[in-house]
Assembly symmetry: C2
Homo-oligomer: 234 residues x 2
């Protein structure tokens, strides 16, 4: 694997730092690369990768250059090598263990979302307070009573917590998680969690997504009425 020259972790030296936007595009590159590999491509240019991932070719080169130094001028990037580096960066090779709070529909969907396995995510247990749900399996995952959560987090040393509870339970669950040692929370409940500084929270706010779409449709209708052009977006 050709990481960028000089950006490897020599003892106590620096760690590659990737910007948030770049990081979020990595899964798209990964997908496009896998497809390319499946089609038999060994080498790919930034423009072709851009076309396949729907991202600007300038952007592609800029992004890749922030963590990859293996591109060959005149030729392009080695598909397989690039895939490996991205997988390393995304932690797809490490096993990312997580616990999931909330065994309702959303929780169940997350627990059995097929895209996650390939990204190294392993949900080791689910929690719910509803006795109806406790002791059942969802997919491969056993649902436990929420009172067992702190103990299990500590015993297994799990660092990632996923919250898929109703809104009014989310903050309390987050507090419990953090107290037990969770360092990163993926929150699907529509609540702005308040946690201590050193806990990373990713708010997966479906309402925001919906807001964007709804606003777009409303605006489109409005601007059409005013006989103006419509805007677009990929």
């Amino acid at each position: 694997m050709s990481f960028q020259k000089g950006s490897r972790d020599y003892g106590d030296t620096k760690v590659i730092s990737i910007s948030r936007p770049t990081l979020q595009r990595l899964p798209m590159y990964h997908r496009a690369l896998e497809r390319s590999l499946a089609e038999g491509l060994k080498v790919i240019s930034s423009s072709e990768l851009g076309r396949r991932s729907g991202i600007d070719e300038y952007q592609v080169r800029k992004d890749l250059s922030s963590f990859y130094g293996g591109g060959k001028p005149g030729l392009g990037y080695d598909v397989l090598d690039l895939i490996e580096v991205i997988e390393e960066l995304l932690g797809m090779n490490n096993l990312n263990e997580a616990i999931l709070a909330g065994a309702g529909r959303l929780g169940s969907a997350i627990a059995s979302y097929p895209g996650f396995e390939r990204f190294g995510l392993k949900i080791v247990a689910m929690f719910d307070k509803d006795p109806e749900k406790v002791s059942r399996h969802i997919g491969q995952v056993l649902v436990l009573d929420v009172s067992k959560m702190p103990n299990l987090i500590q015993r297994l040393g799990v660092k990632m917590g996923i919250i898929a509870t109703p809104a009014d339970a989310a903050q309390e669950v987050a507090d419990t998680m953090v107290r037990a040692g969770i360092e990163a929370i993926w929150n699907f409940a529509p609540v702005n969690l308040r946690v201590s500084e050193d806990v990373f929270v990713r708010q997966e706010d479906l309402a925001s997504g919906l807001a964007t779409l709804a606003h777009h449709l409303t605006n489109k209708a409005r601007s059409r009425k005013c006989s103006t052009a419509s805007s677009s977006e990929a």
Copy 2:
């Protein structure tokens, strides 16, 4: 409701234009405001709203000023009025009809996600190609055979399509939707859709979310090993 002065739609004059980041923060403000209202607050300052929504007070004022002109220097914003304006902007008062392709776990979770109703989203039908799933109800929504999709989209004039199919079916479903008249697609399948310019696509890429978290945890562990400080984020 006090929209910003001069930004209303006078015949053919301009439409309020809100930046994407601002738009995505509106649901957070909305939530914080609802909570404030429930607690009996009639008026709220930008700093208090910031505290409650987890957003910088500078940001709050900047955001609000782009669409709201009703703030009173020395006092703050009228909670109820602000809520109403945001609801209007997010189309929470209009009914947003949508059709949903894919009646698997993810599709089912979306169809019955409680947060959506309040945002005016109404899923009028679901589609699947699995005969096992067709003709059943998921929540309130009837699942139909995917062959009936184009006709139904046209008959009801639905403009929003939600894709929750497996990855390999997503592009074909999107094409069908667009041909039938869908103007905005909310895509939960891990595929970069290719659609015509005037169709709005929101890619709800759960893999991106996971990438952010996994990278953060990996990096945190690595930087701890090197005895350096850890970074954080809200």
